[in-house]
Structures are given as C-alpha cells and as structure tokens.
C-alpha cells in the first residue's frame, strides 16, 4: 500500500501541462485570422448593444446570428467581460476598424473558454485515478496532455477562431455526470449543449437512450413498461430544460420561426466550401471521375457540354453532382439515423456495465463516436470542424483501450490535414505540417508492427496531398485549383469511412 503522502496530487500533475498549452495558445495570438473572428466580434457587439428580441431579427450585417440562444448568451457574457478592457471592441459602429488590442482580447476569450476543457479533463482524470490505481503519475499527465495539446483544436479555435474547445468541454462535463450516474445534471448539460450548437441535436436520441438504460440497470428492472416510463421521464425533463433555454423566444410564434430558419438552413446545399473528409467527398470524387470518363467515351452526349461544378467549393448548390443521383436533405438524415443504430444496440447490449464509472465511460464514448462519425459522414452541409467531436471521443477511448490507438492515429491526421485549406499564411502552414507529423511521432511507438507501415504510408500520403499536390497543380495545372483539396478530402473521406466501419464492427464483438 502506498501511503497517502507520497502520491502527487493530480492537480500538480496537470497544471504544468496546462501552462504548456497556454503558452502555445499565446504564441498563436498573432497568427492568421479568418473572417470568423469578425463574425464573432459582430455577435458580441450585437448582443451587447441590442435587447434579446432583436438578436435574431437584426439583418444589418451579412453575418447574421445563426447559433442557438445559449451561445448568444455566451457571447453576451463575453462581450460584457471584454467591454471592461476594450470598449471599442463591442461597438456596432466601430466594426470596420480592428486594432491589435482587439485581436488580442478576442483571442484571449478563446483561451479563457478553453480552460473549461482542461477542467473537464481534470474531472475525468480524478475518476480514473480513484478507480484505476495502476495508473502511474506519468501516465496520468500523458492522458491530460493528449486532451489539451491537440493541434486540430488549436487550428480551429486559436488560428481560425471559434469556440469549439468550450463545446467539447460541455460534452465532457455531460460525460462526467453520466459516468457518475447523475441523470438530472447529465440531461441539463445535454440541453445546454444543444442550446449552444444545433449540430448536437444528433446526440439527443442516444443521450436519452443511454440515460434510460443506465437508470434501468440501476433499478434492476426487467419489464418493458418501466423502460418506457423511464424514457418518457427523461425526455420530458430534457424538453423542460430545452424550453427554459429558449423561453424568451417561445411566447412569440414569429420569433420562433425566425429562430428555426436561422438555425436550420437547408438551402445552403449539401457541401460546405472545401469539402470536409466525409462520405459525400468520396461520392463527389467518384462523380467527377465517372463524368470525366463519360466525356472521353461519349464526346457527343449531354454530359460533355455541361460543366461539373461540385469541385469548386461553392456554398448553396443544391445539385452538385452531375452523373450520380443528388441526395435530398431527408435522405442524408435517414442515412445518419441508419448509421447511428449500432450505437443503440451497443448500449443496450452492455447496459449492465453502465453502472461502473470506468466501463460506462467506454460504452458511452463508443456510442458517441459512432453517432458523431455517422452525422459527420452522411450529414447535410457538414463543416470540417465537426470531425473534432469524434476525434476527442476517440482520445478518451484510447485512455481505456489501446485498440483504439490506430483509429485515433488515422482520424487525428485526417482532422489536422482537412483544416489545412482553411488557414493561409506561409509560416502558419509550415506549423501545420509539423502538426500533421505530430500524431505520428506520438502514436507511432505505441502501435503494433503490422499497423506501423500503413500508418507511416498514411502520414506520407497526407503530407503529399497537403504539400506536393497544390504545388504541382499550381505549377502545371493552373485551371484545376480545387483539385488538390478535392483529392485531399476524398482521401480523408475514405479514411474516415474506414474508421467508421471499424468502429461499427467493434460493437458486434
């Protein structure tokens, strides 16, 4: 038995690495920023200056608020915090001029919000330390590092500018309450998550199902009726939380309709600018290839005269594909739901394990990974950033089971490389190339030999897509400016599909 005094407190294991993460985030402050920073700045100014009723109706700017109410409240809170330091930042008539201090203050709000991720990770690690005494100090600090030192998150949050770290933190808080069996708090945090970003609607069914399964197992009940009643209870509680969140908009039908059209814009087309590495990217590549072939084989058909536009990276095209059938939003949703189903089976099958704080975490995170991957692969108008969610779930899975390491390796590289086109600036791109090699360096030595060669090949390929192909295209094929990004996302899409298949298969073991 170890004496209590000898154990290093978890806090002093984690804090040094938090400083490392903070330091890298600070060094990223002067880096390239996208228009997303202007968008978020406008939202801050909007929520700071106008009453609630005008938040979703204001159309003076091109960047209308299209995040759910709680996120608007977050912006409101941050705006009031920021106004103490830099009043100029939150004035609606000053949006044209951006000073250096404005950028620093905006960036530091992201750094501040990212601290929640570190705290959520810390909570999880404290559970691990309590229940797995075999974990050494070094291992625990490594687990913490794997969470807070993620290049893909840095790229989206600290270079491109968004608040994904905070969203992931909320997801982790929810998972913490789940593993501790605190169902009310769990449902509350899921509701908060949905109210922060609408894409989290995809995890609502699985969350309700998971909490019902857990409570069902808790009471050792066996009848279908009690399961249904538990399910209705949690659903009602969830709906209650949700309606509290949108209360200021609930009493006005007109406002609610505006809110709905802002949050779920189906007219924006299947593909987002620069395709994310999902199923539709592979589908699109296939379409391109087939139409090219048809043009060569049948030079007089209608295809030869029509131009293929799917590779342009434009938003709002309803029918991007030329030869293959174009899916409607409802087909996409049906595919997402179909892809999710194995997670329900998995949860139901292992419901006895849901009471243990370690095993429940594994089952729950596996289910979440499936849901996130499914919604990312088949969803309508998915952004590249959505790949962060399955990636972070897989990181937690890797803490518990080394079988996931290979999958994480694939996904991390895809996640880092798919955001490459978002970020401009020569030095920034070189930094990202180092970051693409980073998962290789970290994970390589942990893998079995038979995976190593594939993984190495994968890394080289990704680097090739990112560095080599754009250069070749720029030099010799200037008309095909989007070709490299299409190839990159098509390749990444295949990898992601493969990982999805592997995850699905693992549930049937």
């Amino acid at each position: 038995m170890k004496s209590v005094d000898c154990v290093t407190p978890l806090f002093s294991l984690c804090v040094p690495w938090l400083f490392l993460s903070l330091s890298i985030q600070c060094l990223l402050i002067p880096s390239y920023k996208s228009t997303d920073m202007d968008v978020h700045r406008y939202w801050k100014a909007l929520t700071y200056s106008y009453p609630i009723q005008k938040w979703y109706t204001d159309t003076t700017s091109q960047w209308t608020l299209d995040y759910p109410p709680l996120f608007a409240w977050l912006e409101w809170f941050l705006a009031h915090l920021v106004a103490v330091v830099d009043k100029h930042l939150v004035q609606l008539d000053q949006l044209e001029s951006t000073t250096l201090v404005d950028i620093w203050v905006m960036r530091s709000t992201v750094i501040l919000c990212d601290l929640f991720l570190a705290h959520a990770g810390y909570l999880h690690l404290s559970v691990f330390r309590k229940h797995l005494s075999a974990l050494s100090d070094a291992q625990l600090s490594m687990m913490f590092c794997s969470l807070i030192l993620q290049p893909s998150l840095w790229m989206v949050d600290h270079i491109h500018f968004q608040y994904n770290g905070f969203l992931i933190a909320c997801l982790f808080y929810a998972s913490y309450y789940y593993r501790m069996g605190q169902s009310t708090l769990f449902l509350l945090s899921i509701a908060i998550l949905v109210l922060l970003k609408q894409t989290f609607f995809y995890i609502v069914p699985i969350s309700l199902f998971a909490i019902t399964c857990q409570r069902y197992a808790q009471y050792h009940e066996t009848s279908w009726r009690s399961f249904i009643s538990l399910w209705i209870q949690s659903s009602l509680l969830f709906i209650l939380f949700l309606s509290i969140g949108i209360f200021p908009w609930l009493y006005d039908w007109q406002q609610l309709k505006i809110l709905q059209s802002r949050l779920f814009p189906f007219d924006r087309g299947l593909l987002h600018a620069y395709w994310p590495p999902h199923f539709w990217a592979v589908y699109g590549c296939l379409d391109q290839l087939l139409s090219k072939l048809t043009k060569i084989l049948f030079p007089h058909s209608w295809i030869a005269s029509s131009r293929n536009i799917s590779s342009r990276g434009l938003i709002g095209i309803m029918k991007p594909f030329l030869l293959l059938p174009n899916p409607s939003p409802w087909i996409c949703h049906a595919m997402v739901v179909l892809g999710m189903l194995p997670s329900f089976y998995d949860l139901w099958k292992s419901r006895r394990m849901l009471l243990h704080p370690i095993h429940s975490m594994e089952v729950w995170m596996r289910a979440l990974t499936i849901v996130f991957l499914s919604s990312f692969l088949f969803g309508w108008h998915v952004h590249e950033k959505a790949i962060l969610m399955p990636q972070f779930c897989m990181i937690v899975l890797c803490w518990m089971n080394s079988d996931w390491l290979v999958g994480l390796g694939w996904i991390s590289t895809v996640a880092t490389s798919c955001m490459f086109p978002l970020i401009f600036g020569c030095l920034e791109r070189i930094v990202i190339m180092v970051w693409i090699i980073y998962p290789m360096a970290l994970l390589y030595s942990g893998m079995e030999n038979r995976f190593r060669i594939f993984f190495f090949f994968h890394e080289i390929c990704t680097l090739g897509w990112v560095i080599g192909l754009p250069w070749i295209v720029q030099r010799w094929l200037p008309h095909y400016a989007f070709l490299p990004w299409m190839m990159l996302s098509g390749y990444g899409g295949m990898i992601t599909c493969g990982v999805f298949y592997k995850v699905i298969m693992s549930t049937f073991d």
């Binding site: 040094p16 903070l22 330091s23 600070c26 687990m143 518990m400 020569c426 070189i430 030595s445 942990g446």
Partner: protein, 490 residues
Amino acid sequence: MVDKERSQAITRSCLDASYKQKLLLAFGFVVLIRLLVSLSPYSGQATPPLYGDLEAQRHWMEITVSLPPADWYRQTPDNDLQYWGIDYPPLSAYYSWVCGKTIEFFDRDVVKLHVSQGIETESSKCLLRLSVILSDVIFLLPACLQLCLKVSVNRNNEALWLFITTTVEPCLLLIDHGHFQYNGVSIALVLWSAISLLNYNFVWACLFYICSIHFKQTSLYFSLCFASYFFSRLKTQQRWKLKLLQCAIVTILLFVIIWWPWLKDWKSFSQALARIFPVSRGLYEDKVANFWCTLSPFVKMHRLLHSSTILLICSLLTTITCLPFVLMNWKQPTVTSLLVSFTSTSLCFYLFSYQVHEKQIILPVFISQFLSFDFPWLSFGFSMIGLTSMFPLFIRENLHPGYIGCCFLQIWLRSIMPRRNVNQFKCTFTKLLYFALFVVLHLLLLYAKPPIRFPHIFILMTTSACFVYFVSLLAFLIRISIELSNCKSD
C-alpha cells in the same frame, strides 16, 4: 472488474519511446516553438522609412549578394551606410551572403539591389524567418545538445530536459525569432569552442572562438575567461608549447582568411574596423539595465568626462569585476567553473562595459541555462528578469503575446524539471516582494501614462530594478566562484 491489461493505452506510447525517439520529439518540439514564435510581428514591421532589424539583416543580404566584399564597409553610390550599413564583423557579412544567395534561389525580389528596400511581402517574411530557424537547427541545436550531454550525468531524461530548457530560453527566442537577429549562430560558435575546450581540443576551440568573434563582436565578452580557461587547461598538457604554437598559427591563418578582402590596403581595413567598433555611438543604446544607465539620472557621465576617459573607466571596472572568475578558471578548470565564468564575465561586460545594447543580456542568460541543475533558482530568475529588462523593447514591437507565451513556457519547464528538490523552489519573502514589484512595473509600463517631465521614468524604474537584481546575482556568482576555486576535490 477492472481490466488492467487493456487500460492506459495512449500513455504507453510516449513512455516507452526509446531515447532516440524522445530526442527526435524534443528536436521537433523545439523547432515547433521557434516556428510559433516566428508568427509574431518583427522589429520595425510596417514602419517606413527605416523599418527595423529585419530590414537591416535583409539589406545586408542585398548588399553582400550584389556588391564585392571590398565595398561592404565603404560608402559607395550603391551602398548608403546611413541606411543600415553593415556594422558586424566579416563572418556575419559572409553569412548574410550565404543566406542572401539561398533566398535569391527561392525569391529573387527579396534581395534585389535598391529595388527591394523596405520589401514586406509574405514570402520575404517567411523566407527570412525560416533562415533564422534553419541556422538555429544547423548551429545552435547540435551545440546545445552536445553541451547538455556533457553537463548532465544522466543521459536520458535529464539531458533532454536541459536541452529543451536551453534551446527555448525566452530571451534568445524572442530576440532571434520575434525581434529578428542571428544571435543563435554566434552563441553556437561560443558553445562549440567551450565543448572543444572541455574535450582538450585546443585548436578547434581557438578556431570556433575566433569565428564567433568574427560573427558578432559581442562574443568578446567571453574573452577573459576563455583565455584563462584555455591556458589553465593547456598548462597541464604534455608538449603544451607545440599545441600553443599550433593554436597561434591557426588563429593567424583564420584571421587572414576572414579579413582577406580588406587587407589589401590599410584604409579599407580601418574603415571596416571603425564600422564594427563604433566608439562614437556612446556609452549605451536605449535603456539598458546596466550600471551606466542606472547612474544616468543622477550623474551625466558624458558631460563630466571625455569619452576616452569613460572608455578607460569602463574597461577598468569590467576587468576588476571579471578577476574572481578568471582566477577561478586558472585554479579549477571544471565544467561548472567554465559555465559559471562564461555567465559571469558576460554579465560583467553587460553591466560595466562601453556601448551596450539591451539585447546583449541574452549572452549571460543563455549560458546560465546550462546551470539549471546546479542553481535552478538562479537560471530561472535570471532568464525571467533578463526578459523583463527587455520588456520596453517588446512593448514597442508588439511582442506581448510572445512574451507571455515564453513566460508560460518557462513555468512549464521548471515545474516538470527532473531531479527536482522542493527546497530549491521555496518561496521566500524577498522573492515574493520582487515578484510583486515586477508585476507593478509591468502594469505601469503597459497602462500608466508617464509624467510629461519624465517620459521614460517607468522604463528607467524597470531597468533599475533589473540592475539591482543583476548586481546581487553578480555578488552571488562571485561568492560561488570563491567557493569553487577553494574546493580541493576534482
């Protein structure tokens, strides 16, 4: 049931990595940090007509690539010495030529004569930044690794930690990769000469040291202790006279080779020398945390005395303060005494010598990082306060984010230090007081408006506080040197 076999997967990968893999990771990390610091704004960004140090270095490349060496230090129609004329020794100019040629290969416009003046494109910034990083990778990192392996007993984790600590030393990082200079090369040459001395390679030591002086004249700060260490090690050797002769021949040969383009007539040589040692430029530049700058509010030296008298006083004071370390080297030429003496003599030169810049604090601070295991608090405090002494410069160049980032990096490194003794990092009342004082000074520098009569009052306060720390550090180092030179073992 808890399945121990399956758990802790991600952690295993890093912990089981072999020494070589860890070394590779450390190298990658250090380069990554350099890249990240390079994202910061550089000295004189978008401030015509004179810009800053980045433009100076670029202009030197432009001059050296286009003009023959004889014209480099001379006022000609093509070389306006008023616009960032070269004032570094020839080896630095040669290095500018190498960098210029390399950059010319990628982008012709960056170093085109006359046309490129004040060029600020994406590719110019990127290429120049990468040239500093690349020269660090070639010169500085291998030298640091070599010396770290010499200093630390345990090959594995300690050496790697020391390697990272020394190479991401905040002062050098921010000046070289933020502000933009090539200090890493001259420091690397000094380190190589130190390593050669430790290996009893006297010829190589001379060679590297001469190269270092000819890269940047500030390497002369190490000359006194280098000489004493050199002779103290040489005297124990067999056939030391022959070795001394070899060294002398190599030194003279190297000198001739480096100066060859200017040796043809006396005038061009003296012109170059006058550019490299600008005695007329005054006692110090900007606000420096040294003796003379701290004295200046009370006594205006340049009004009281002639500049040649001041020069004499400076050299006398510097030599006297360096003496204990020279003696220590003569008595006990050990690894620790080498590092201590290199740190302290360069600190003495910074504090008392003539024509000092605020950036020259990086020399003692950088060498002191190798003492991190022997005197952890010294090297940590020295690097932080050395950084603070340059804070006014960083404010001017909008380097605040990099400054904070580097401070966090230091805190991280010190808190994961292997072989850590808790007592070494004990918080005393004096340390807390000093910390509070510096926090107040930072806030004053950032937010307070100075009174109109004394526009530099806060900067002077900061540099004076740093000066007090440096002097107490020097006193501590003198005590250590006396202890070390009296110790019998070894």
